[in-house]
Symmetry: C2
Subunit: 257 residues, 2 copies
Protein backbone atom coordinates (compact mmCIF):
# COMPACT_ATOMS: atom_id res chain seq x y z
CA UNK A 1 0.00 0.00 0.00
CA UNK A 2 1.24 3.48 -0.79
CA UNK A 3 -0.13 6.95 -0.38
CA UNK A 4 -1.47 8.52 -3.51
CA UNK A 5 0.65 11.26 -4.94
CA UNK A 6 -0.87 14.66 -4.42
CA UNK A 7 -1.30 14.97 -8.20
CA UNK A 8 -4.08 12.40 -7.80
CA UNK A 9 -5.60 14.22 -4.87
CA UNK A 10 -8.07 16.89 -5.89
CA UNK A 11 -8.26 19.62 -3.28
CA UNK A 12 -11.80 19.77 -1.86
CA UNK A 13 -11.34 23.53 -1.49
CA UNK A 14 -11.90 23.85 -5.23
CA UNK A 15 -15.39 22.37 -4.93
CA UNK A 16 -18.44 24.60 -4.86
CA UNK A 17 -20.19 25.31 -1.55
CA UNK A 18 -23.22 23.13 -2.25
CA UNK A 19 -21.23 19.94 -2.83
CA UNK A 20 -20.48 19.30 0.85
CA UNK A 21 -22.61 19.11 3.99
CA UNK A 22 -22.28 22.56 5.61
CA UNK A 23 -20.46 22.98 8.96
CA UNK A 24 -19.15 19.40 9.15
CA UNK A 25 -15.59 18.20 8.60
CA UNK A 26 -13.63 15.04 9.44
CA UNK A 27 -10.10 14.71 10.83
CA UNK A 28 -8.22 11.42 11.00
CA UNK A 29 -5.50 10.68 13.55
CA UNK A 30 -3.54 7.86 11.93
CA UNK A 31 -1.31 5.94 14.34
CA UNK A 32 1.54 3.73 13.19
CA UNK A 33 4.27 1.88 15.11
CA UNK A 34 7.83 1.67 13.85
CA UNK A 35 11.25 1.08 15.39
CA UNK A 36 9.79 1.04 18.87
CA UNK A 37 8.02 4.39 18.45
CA UNK A 38 4.34 5.24 18.17
CA UNK A 39 3.90 7.78 15.38
CA UNK A 40 1.18 9.95 13.88
CA UNK A 41 0.80 10.72 10.18
CA UNK A 42 0.66 14.43 9.38
CA UNK A 43 0.56 16.34 6.15
CA UNK A 44 1.38 19.83 5.02
CA UNK A 45 0.40 21.38 1.74
CA UNK A 46 2.85 23.84 0.26
CA UNK A 47 0.17 26.45 0.87
CA UNK A 48 -0.06 25.75 4.63
CA UNK A 49 2.19 27.22 7.28
CA UNK A 50 1.36 24.46 9.74
CA UNK A 51 1.24 20.68 9.68
CA UNK A 52 -2.22 19.19 10.03
CA UNK A 53 -4.15 15.95 10.37
CA UNK A 54 -5.36 14.37 7.12
CA UNK A 55 -8.98 15.44 6.86
CA UNK A 56 -11.78 16.41 4.55
CA UNK A 57 -15.44 17.13 4.05
CA UNK A 58 -18.65 15.11 3.70
CA UNK A 59 -20.63 14.95 0.47
CA UNK A 60 -24.28 15.94 0.82
CA UNK A 61 -25.52 12.41 0.15
CA UNK A 62 -22.77 10.50 1.94
CA UNK A 63 -22.98 8.70 5.29
CA UNK A 64 -20.51 10.12 7.81
CA UNK A 65 -18.64 6.88 8.43
CA UNK A 66 -18.34 6.26 4.69
CA UNK A 67 -16.94 9.77 4.27
CA UNK A 68 -14.28 9.04 6.90
CA UNK A 69 -13.18 5.88 5.04
CA UNK A 70 -13.16 7.72 1.71
CA UNK A 71 -11.09 10.60 3.12
CA UNK A 72 -8.59 8.20 4.70
CA UNK A 73 -8.30 6.31 1.43
CA UNK A 74 -7.88 9.49 -0.65
CA UNK A 75 -5.24 10.90 1.67
CA UNK A 76 -3.25 7.73 2.36
CA UNK A 77 -4.24 5.09 -0.19
CA UNK A 78 -5.28 2.86 2.70
CA UNK A 79 -8.43 0.77 2.54
CA UNK A 80 -10.02 -1.60 5.02
CA UNK A 81 -8.38 0.12 7.93
CA UNK A 82 -9.42 0.00 11.60
CA UNK A 83 -11.05 3.41 11.78
CA UNK A 84 -13.03 4.54 14.78
CA UNK A 85 -15.03 7.67 15.47
CA UNK A 86 -14.12 8.97 18.91
CA UNK A 87 -15.28 12.57 19.46
CA UNK A 88 -16.86 15.59 17.84
CA UNK A 89 -14.83 18.78 18.25
CA UNK A 90 -17.18 21.75 18.28
CA UNK A 91 -15.68 24.79 19.98
CA UNK A 92 -16.28 28.04 18.13
CA UNK A 93 -12.61 28.99 18.44
CA UNK A 94 -11.18 25.69 17.28
CA UNK A 95 -9.81 27.16 14.06
CA UNK A 96 -8.77 30.80 13.73
CA UNK A 97 -10.20 32.51 10.61
CA UNK A 98 -6.71 33.81 9.74
CA UNK A 99 -5.41 30.27 9.37
CA UNK A 100 -7.99 29.51 6.71
CA UNK A 101 -7.64 32.88 4.97
CA UNK A 102 -3.92 32.24 4.64
CA UNK A 103 -4.58 28.81 3.09
CA UNK A 104 -7.04 30.28 0.57
CA UNK A 105 -4.70 33.19 -0.24
CA UNK A 106 -1.78 30.85 -0.86
CA UNK A 107 -3.96 28.55 -3.00
CA UNK A 108 -5.23 31.51 -5.03
CA UNK A 109 -8.88 30.71 -4.25
CA UNK A 110 -11.30 33.64 -4.27
CA UNK A 111 -12.98 34.79 -1.07
CA UNK A 112 -15.61 34.76 0.40
CA UNK A 113 -15.29 30.98 0.50
CA UNK A 114 -17.16 28.33 2.48
CA UNK A 115 -13.92 27.32 4.27
CA UNK A 116 -14.26 30.55 6.26
CA UNK A 117 -17.54 29.35 7.80
CA UNK A 118 -17.54 27.58 11.13
CA UNK A 119 -16.90 23.82 11.05
CA UNK A 120 -17.29 21.17 13.69
CA UNK A 121 -14.97 18.25 13.12
CA UNK A 122 -15.61 14.57 13.72
CA UNK A 123 -12.46 12.93 15.06
CA UNK A 124 -11.59 9.42 13.85
CA UNK A 125 -8.53 7.45 14.75
CA UNK A 126 -6.94 4.79 12.60
CA UNK A 127 -4.44 2.15 13.68
CA UNK A 128 -2.32 1.07 10.73
CA UNK A 129 0.54 -1.27 10.10
CA UNK A 130 3.40 1.15 9.52
CA UNK A 131 5.32 -1.30 7.34
CA UNK A 132 2.41 -1.55 4.89
CA UNK A 133 2.15 2.18 4.30
CA UNK A 134 4.81 3.70 2.09
CA UNK A 135 4.49 7.46 2.17
CA UNK A 136 6.14 9.95 -0.11
CA UNK A 137 6.01 13.69 -0.42
CA UNK A 138 5.47 15.64 -3.61
CA UNK A 139 6.12 19.20 -4.60
CA UNK A 140 2.77 20.40 -3.36
CA UNK A 141 2.29 18.14 -0.33
CA UNK A 142 4.56 16.74 2.32
CA UNK A 143 3.43 13.65 4.25
CA UNK A 144 5.45 12.49 7.25
CA UNK A 145 5.29 10.30 10.34
CA UNK A 146 5.86 12.22 13.58
CA UNK A 147 7.02 10.73 16.88
CA UNK A 148 4.04 10.98 19.22
CA UNK A 149 6.13 13.03 21.67
CA UNK A 150 7.49 15.39 19.02
CA UNK A 151 4.37 16.81 17.40
CA UNK A 152 4.79 20.48 16.41
CA UNK A 153 2.10 23.14 16.89
CA UNK A 154 -0.53 22.08 14.37
CA UNK A 155 -3.29 23.79 12.43
CA UNK A 156 -6.38 24.73 14.48
CA UNK A 157 -7.15 22.36 17.35
CA UNK A 158 -5.40 19.36 15.78
CA UNK A 159 -3.00 18.94 18.72
CA UNK A 160 -6.04 18.59 20.97
CA UNK A 161 -7.59 16.06 18.57
CA UNK A 162 -4.47 13.87 18.80
CA UNK A 163 -4.42 14.12 22.62
CA UNK A 164 -8.08 13.19 22.81
CA UNK A 165 -7.54 10.26 20.41
CA UNK A 166 -4.82 8.88 22.71
CA UNK A 167 -7.02 9.36 25.79
CA UNK A 168 -9.83 7.60 23.98
CA UNK A 169 -7.64 4.61 23.11
CA UNK A 170 -6.30 4.63 26.70
CA UNK A 171 -9.82 4.42 28.12
CA UNK A 172 -10.46 1.34 25.97
CA UNK A 173 -7.13 -0.37 26.45
CA UNK A 174 -8.74 -2.95 28.71
CA UNK A 175 -11.42 -3.90 26.26
CA UNK A 176 -9.71 -3.74 22.87
CA UNK A 177 -6.68 -5.80 21.81
CA UNK A 178 -4.93 -2.66 20.70
CA UNK A 179 -1.70 -3.92 19.15
CA UNK A 180 -3.18 -6.03 16.38
CA UNK A 181 -3.48 -3.34 13.72
CA UNK A 182 -0.22 -1.64 14.63
CA UNK A 183 2.15 -4.61 14.55
CA UNK A 184 3.39 -6.87 11.77
CA UNK A 185 2.16 -10.46 11.82
CA UNK A 186 5.04 -11.57 14.03
CA UNK A 187 6.24 -9.29 16.80
CA UNK A 188 8.20 -9.29 20.04
CA UNK A 189 6.56 -8.80 23.43
CA UNK A 190 8.73 -5.67 23.83
CA UNK A 191 7.13 -4.10 20.76
CA UNK A 192 3.66 -4.78 22.10
CA UNK A 193 4.58 -3.51 25.57
CA UNK A 194 6.01 -0.28 24.15
CA UNK A 195 2.68 0.44 22.44
CA UNK A 196 0.85 0.00 25.75
CA UNK A 197 3.44 2.07 27.60
CA UNK A 198 3.16 4.88 25.07
CA UNK A 199 -0.63 4.98 25.21
CA UNK A 200 -0.75 4.69 29.01
CA UNK A 201 2.21 7.09 29.30
CA UNK A 202 3.98 5.01 31.95
CA UNK A 203 6.38 2.09 32.24
CA UNK A 204 4.92 -1.40 32.68
CA UNK A 205 6.58 -4.36 34.33
CA UNK A 206 7.95 -6.69 31.60
CA UNK A 207 7.00 -9.97 33.24
CA UNK A 208 3.57 -8.90 34.42
CA UNK A 209 2.81 -7.52 30.97
CA UNK A 210 3.75 -10.77 29.23
CA UNK A 211 1.80 -12.83 31.74
CA UNK A 212 -1.34 -10.69 31.35
CA UNK A 213 -1.11 -10.67 27.58
CA UNK A 214 -0.73 -14.43 27.32
CA UNK A 215 -3.54 -14.98 29.84
CA UNK A 216 -6.00 -13.28 27.44
CA UNK A 217 -5.54 -16.16 25.03
CA UNK A 218 -5.51 -13.71 22.12
CA UNK A 219 -1.73 -13.92 21.67
CA UNK A 220 0.21 -17.03 20.71
CA UNK A 221 3.90 -17.63 21.38
CA UNK A 222 5.67 -18.82 18.23
CA UNK A 223 8.51 -21.28 17.97
CA UNK A 224 10.70 -18.58 16.40
CA UNK A 225 12.99 -15.84 17.63
CA UNK A 226 13.80 -12.39 16.36
CA UNK A 227 17.40 -11.32 15.87
CA UNK A 228 16.42 -7.71 15.30
CA UNK A 229 18.11 -6.51 18.47
CA UNK A 230 21.56 -7.79 17.55
CA UNK A 231 22.99 -10.85 19.23
CA UNK A 232 20.27 -10.99 21.89
CA UNK A 233 17.32 -12.96 20.58
CA UNK A 234 13.68 -12.33 21.49
CA UNK A 235 10.71 -14.66 21.22
CA UNK A 236 8.18 -13.89 18.54
CA UNK A 237 4.42 -13.79 19.07
CA UNK A 238 1.36 -13.52 16.88
CA UNK A 239 -2.33 -12.71 17.34
CA UNK A 240 -4.85 -15.54 17.19
CA UNK A 241 -7.08 -14.00 14.51
CA UNK A 242 -10.22 -15.84 15.58
CA UNK A 243 -9.86 -15.02 19.27
CA UNK A 244 -8.91 -11.47 18.37
CA UNK A 245 -12.15 -11.05 16.43
CA UNK A 246 -14.09 -12.43 19.37
CA UNK A 247 -12.30 -10.11 21.82
CA UNK A 248 -13.02 -7.15 19.54
CA UNK A 249 -16.73 -7.86 19.81
CA UNK A 250 -17.07 -8.94 23.40
CA UNK A 251 -14.21 -7.20 25.17
CA UNK A 252 -10.93 -8.50 26.51
CA UNK A 253 -10.84 -10.45 29.72
CA UNK A 254 -7.93 -8.84 31.47
CA UNK A 255 -7.91 -6.44 34.35
CA UNK A 256 -6.50 -2.93 34.72
CA UNK A 257 -2.79 -2.35 34.21
Amino acid sequence: MTTKSSQDYKSPLKERANVFLPSVSIDCTIFGFHDGILKVLLNKFKTNRKWMLPGGFVFLNENINNAAHRILSERTGLNEVYLKQFYLFGDTERVQPDENKQILDATGINQPHWLLDRFVSIGYYALVNHSQLRIYSTESEKVEWFHINEIPKLYGDHNRIIEKAIRSIRSQINSIPIGYELLPEKFTMSDLRIIYETILDRKLDRRNFQRKMLSTGVIIKLDEVSKKWGCKSACLFTFDKEKYNFAQKSGMAYSEW
Copy 2:
Protein backbone atom coordinates in the same frame (compact mmCIF):
# COMPACT_ATOMS: atom_id res chain seq x y z
CA MET B 1 -35.75 20.54 40.07
CA THR B 2 -38.68 20.46 37.69
CA THR B 3 -39.08 20.45 33.97
CA LYS B 4 -40.15 23.73 32.47
CA SER B 5 -43.65 23.83 31.17
CA SER B 6 -43.81 23.84 27.42
CA GLN B 7 -45.27 27.38 27.55
CA ASP B 8 -41.78 28.47 28.57
CA TYR B 9 -40.14 26.47 25.84
CA LYS B 10 -39.89 28.33 22.56
CA SER B 11 -39.85 25.96 19.63
CA PRO B 12 -36.57 26.31 17.75
CA LEU B 13 -38.46 25.51 14.55
CA LYS B 14 -39.80 29.08 14.62
CA GLU B 15 -36.27 30.48 14.36
CA ARG B 16 -34.90 31.68 11.05
CA ALA B 17 -32.44 29.49 9.16
CA ASN B 18 -29.38 31.64 9.86
CA VAL B 19 -29.72 31.46 13.66
CA PHE B 20 -28.42 27.89 13.98
CA LEU B 21 -25.32 26.10 12.74
CA PRO B 22 -26.44 24.27 9.57
CA SER B 23 -26.60 20.44 9.46
CA VAL B 24 -25.90 19.92 13.17
CA SER B 25 -28.36 18.86 15.88
CA ILE B 26 -28.08 17.43 19.39
CA ASP B 27 -30.07 14.61 20.98
CA CYS B 28 -29.94 13.80 24.70
CA THR B 29 -30.62 10.36 26.12
CA ILE B 30 -31.56 11.08 29.74
CA PHE B 31 -31.37 8.06 32.03
CA GLY B 32 -33.08 7.93 35.42
CA PHE B 33 -33.47 5.11 37.94
CA HIS B 34 -36.70 4.61 39.88
CA ASP B 35 -38.40 1.71 41.63
CA GLY B 36 -35.71 -0.68 40.49
CA ILE B 37 -36.09 0.27 36.83
CA LEU B 38 -33.74 2.14 34.50
CA LYS B 39 -35.79 4.64 32.51
CA VAL B 40 -35.31 7.07 29.63
CA LEU B 41 -36.99 10.47 29.36
CA LEU B 42 -38.92 10.99 26.13
CA ASN B 43 -41.12 13.78 24.89
CA LYS B 44 -43.82 14.19 22.32
CA PHE B 45 -45.18 17.43 21.04
CA LYS B 46 -48.85 17.47 20.15
CA THR B 47 -47.68 17.97 16.57
CA ASN B 48 -45.57 14.78 16.50
CA ARG B 49 -46.84 11.31 15.78
CA LYS B 50 -43.88 9.68 17.48
CA TRP B 51 -42.09 10.05 20.80
CA MET B 52 -38.57 11.42 20.56
CA LEU B 53 -35.45 12.22 22.55
CA PRO B 54 -35.19 15.75 23.91
CA GLY B 55 -32.99 17.57 21.45
CA GLY B 56 -32.26 20.83 19.74
CA PHE B 57 -29.96 22.89 17.59
CA VAL B 58 -26.70 24.80 18.04
CA PHE B 59 -26.47 28.60 17.83
CA LEU B 60 -23.94 29.87 15.32
CA ASN B 61 -21.66 31.27 18.02
CA GLU B 62 -22.15 28.55 20.62
CA ASN B 63 -19.71 25.79 21.60
CA ILE B 64 -21.19 22.35 21.03
CA ASN B 65 -20.90 21.14 24.62
CA ASN B 66 -22.47 24.38 25.89
CA ALA B 67 -25.33 23.87 23.44
CA ALA B 68 -25.92 20.38 24.84
CA HIS B 69 -26.15 21.73 28.40
CA ARG B 70 -28.47 24.55 27.29
CA ILE B 71 -30.76 22.17 25.41
CA LEU B 72 -30.92 19.80 28.37
CA SER B 73 -31.71 22.68 30.69
CA GLU B 74 -34.39 24.12 28.37
CA ARG B 75 -36.07 20.77 27.90
CA THR B 76 -35.88 19.45 31.46
CA GLY B 77 -35.01 22.36 33.77
CA LEU B 78 -31.93 20.40 34.84
CA ASN B 79 -28.60 22.12 35.36
CA GLU B 80 -25.19 20.82 36.41
CA VAL B 81 -25.99 17.38 35.13
CA TYR B 82 -23.55 14.60 34.22
CA LEU B 83 -23.77 14.94 30.45
CA LYS B 84 -21.44 13.13 28.12
CA GLN B 85 -21.02 13.21 24.36
CA PHE B 86 -20.83 9.65 23.08
CA TYR B 87 -21.32 9.45 19.30
CA LEU B 88 -22.18 11.41 16.19
CA PHE B 89 -25.03 9.92 14.16
CA GLY B 90 -24.55 10.77 10.52
CA ASP B 91 -26.35 8.37 8.21
CA THR B 92 -28.16 10.05 5.35
CA GLU B 93 -31.31 8.02 6.05
CA ARG B 94 -31.42 8.66 9.79
CA VAL B 95 -34.58 10.78 9.57
CA GLN B 96 -37.17 10.35 6.85
CA PRO B 97 -38.19 13.65 5.19
CA ASP B 98 -41.86 12.76 5.68
CA GLU B 99 -41.43 12.73 9.44
CA ASN B 100 -40.23 16.31 9.42
CA LYS B 101 -42.78 17.46 6.84
CA GLN B 102 -45.52 16.11 9.09
CA ILE B 103 -44.13 18.02 12.09
CA LEU B 104 -43.99 21.26 10.10
CA ASP B 105 -47.48 20.73 8.67
CA ALA B 106 -48.94 20.10 12.12
CA THR B 107 -47.15 23.13 13.55
CA GLY B 108 -48.38 25.33 10.69
CA ILE B 109 -44.86 26.36 9.68
CA ASN B 110 -44.31 27.30 6.04
CA GLN B 111 -42.15 25.16 3.79
CA PRO B 112 -39.46 25.04 2.46
CA HIS B 113 -37.94 25.07 5.94
CA TRP B 114 -34.42 24.34 7.16
CA LEU B 115 -35.69 21.35 9.18
CA LEU B 116 -36.05 19.52 5.85
CA ASP B 117 -32.28 19.73 5.24
CA ARG B 118 -30.02 16.89 6.30
CA PHE B 119 -28.86 16.92 9.93
CA VAL B 120 -26.19 14.93 11.70
CA SER B 121 -26.90 14.55 15.40
CA ILE B 122 -24.47 14.56 18.28
CA GLY B 123 -25.59 12.05 20.88
CA TYR B 124 -25.19 12.95 24.56
CA TYR B 125 -26.26 10.89 27.51
CA ALA B 126 -27.23 12.25 30.89
CA LEU B 127 -27.49 10.32 34.14
CA VAL B 128 -29.92 12.05 36.47
CA ASN B 129 -31.32 11.45 39.91
CA HIS B 130 -34.88 10.52 39.08
CA SER B 131 -36.22 11.74 42.42
CA GLN B 132 -34.90 15.25 41.77
CA LEU B 133 -36.67 15.65 38.44
CA ARG B 134 -40.40 16.29 38.59
CA ILE B 135 -41.84 16.11 35.13
CA TYR B 136 -45.22 17.23 33.98
CA SER B 137 -46.96 17.30 30.66
CA THR B 138 -48.81 20.25 29.20
CA GLU B 139 -51.39 20.59 26.46
CA SER B 140 -48.77 20.95 23.73
CA GLU B 141 -46.08 18.63 25.06
CA LYS B 142 -46.04 15.32 26.87
CA VAL B 143 -42.93 14.35 28.83
CA GLU B 144 -42.67 10.84 30.26
CA TRP B 145 -40.21 8.31 31.64
CA PHE B 146 -40.11 5.04 29.68
CA HIS B 147 -38.91 1.68 31.01
CA ILE B 148 -35.69 0.97 29.12
CA ASN B 149 -37.16 -2.29 27.83
CA GLU B 150 -40.45 -0.72 26.75
CA ILE B 151 -39.40 2.04 24.37
CA PRO B 152 -41.84 2.48 21.46
CA LYS B 153 -40.76 3.09 17.85
CA LEU B 154 -39.33 6.59 18.05
CA TYR B 155 -38.81 9.47 15.64
CA GLY B 156 -35.93 9.01 13.16
CA ASP B 157 -33.01 6.97 14.45
CA HIS B 158 -33.69 7.76 18.12
CA ASN B 159 -34.09 4.08 19.08
CA ARG B 160 -30.60 3.51 17.71
CA ILE B 161 -29.29 6.50 19.67
CA ILE B 162 -30.60 5.02 22.93
CA GLU B 163 -29.10 1.60 22.12
CA LYS B 164 -25.75 3.17 21.33
CA ALA B 165 -25.87 5.24 24.54
CA ILE B 166 -26.35 2.06 26.58
CA ARG B 167 -23.53 0.30 24.73
CA SER B 168 -21.33 3.31 25.35
CA ILE B 169 -22.03 3.26 29.10
CA ARG B 170 -21.51 -0.51 29.09
CA SER B 171 -18.08 -0.15 27.52
CA GLN B 172 -17.10 2.25 30.29
CA ILE B 173 -18.68 0.42 33.19
CA ASN B 174 -15.25 -0.67 34.43
CA SER B 175 -13.81 2.80 34.49
CA ILE B 176 -16.69 5.02 35.61
CA PRO B 177 -18.57 4.72 38.95
CA ILE B 178 -21.83 4.67 37.07
CA GLY B 179 -24.44 4.62 39.85
CA TYR B 180 -23.53 7.90 41.50
CA GLU B 181 -25.69 10.21 39.42
CA LEU B 182 -28.60 7.80 39.19
CA LEU B 183 -29.12 6.99 42.85
CA PRO B 184 -30.26 9.04 45.84
CA GLU B 185 -27.62 9.81 48.47
CA LYS B 186 -28.39 6.61 50.37
CA PHE B 187 -29.15 3.45 48.45
CA THR B 188 -29.25 -0.31 48.77
CA MET B 189 -26.74 -2.61 47.09
CA SER B 190 -29.67 -4.16 45.19
CA ASP B 191 -30.49 -0.82 43.60
CA LEU B 192 -26.90 -0.37 42.47
CA ARG B 193 -26.69 -3.95 41.21
CA ILE B 194 -29.90 -3.57 39.18
CA ILE B 195 -28.40 -0.58 37.36
CA TYR B 196 -25.33 -2.63 36.44
CA GLU B 197 -27.48 -5.61 35.46
CA THR B 198 -29.65 -3.43 33.23
CA ILE B 199 -26.71 -1.82 31.48
CA LEU B 200 -24.82 -5.11 31.07
CA ASP B 201 -28.08 -6.91 30.18
CA ARG B 202 -27.36 -9.93 32.38
CA LYS B 203 -27.73 -11.09 35.98
CA LEU B 204 -24.81 -10.57 38.36
CA ASP B 205 -24.01 -12.58 41.46
CA ARG B 206 -25.19 -10.65 44.56
CA ARG B 207 -22.24 -11.43 46.78
CA ASN B 208 -19.55 -10.96 44.14
CA PHE B 209 -21.09 -7.67 43.14
CA GLN B 210 -21.10 -6.32 46.70
CA ARG B 211 -17.54 -7.51 47.28
CA LYS B 212 -16.28 -5.88 44.08
CA MET B 213 -18.11 -2.64 44.75
CA LEU B 214 -16.80 -2.31 48.28
CA SER B 215 -13.27 -3.22 47.15
CA THR B 216 -13.22 -0.10 44.97
CA GLY B 217 -13.29 2.04 48.10
CA VAL B 218 -15.71 4.43 46.39
CA ILE B 219 -18.74 3.10 48.28
CA ILE B 220 -19.23 3.28 52.05
CA LYS B 221 -21.51 1.03 54.08
CA LEU B 222 -23.73 3.10 56.40
CA ASP B 223 -24.91 2.17 59.86
CA GLU B 224 -28.53 2.38 58.67
CA VAL B 225 -31.01 0.04 57.07
CA SER B 226 -33.78 0.56 54.53
CA LYS B 227 -37.29 -0.75 55.21
CA LYS B 228 -38.42 -0.03 51.67
CA TRP B 229 -38.91 -3.69 50.81
CA GLY B 230 -41.38 -4.37 53.62
CA CYS B 231 -40.34 -6.27 56.71
CA LYS B 232 -37.03 -7.36 55.22
CA SER B 233 -34.42 -4.73 55.91
CA ALA B 234 -31.47 -3.92 53.62
CA CYS B 235 -28.23 -2.16 54.44
CA LEU B 236 -27.79 1.32 53.07
CA PHE B 237 -24.69 2.56 51.27
CA THR B 238 -23.41 5.90 50.04
CA PHE B 239 -20.73 7.13 47.66
CA ASP B 240 -17.53 8.62 49.08
CA LYS B 241 -17.67 11.91 47.15
CA GLU B 242 -13.94 12.54 47.26
CA LYS B 243 -12.99 9.05 46.11
CA TYR B 244 -15.75 9.17 43.52
CA ASN B 245 -14.28 12.35 42.02
CA PHE B 246 -10.86 10.73 41.94
CA ALA B 247 -12.23 7.59 40.28
CA GLN B 248 -14.04 9.72 37.70
CA LYS B 249 -10.72 11.25 36.67
CA SER B 250 -8.38 8.31 36.92
CA GLY B 251 -10.58 5.29 36.34
CA MET B 252 -11.96 2.69 38.72
CA ALA B 253 -9.73 -0.05 40.03
CA TYR B 254 -11.95 -3.06 39.56
CA SER B 255 -11.81 -5.81 37.02
CA GLU B 256 -14.32 -7.01 34.44
CA TRP B 257 -17.71 -8.30 35.58
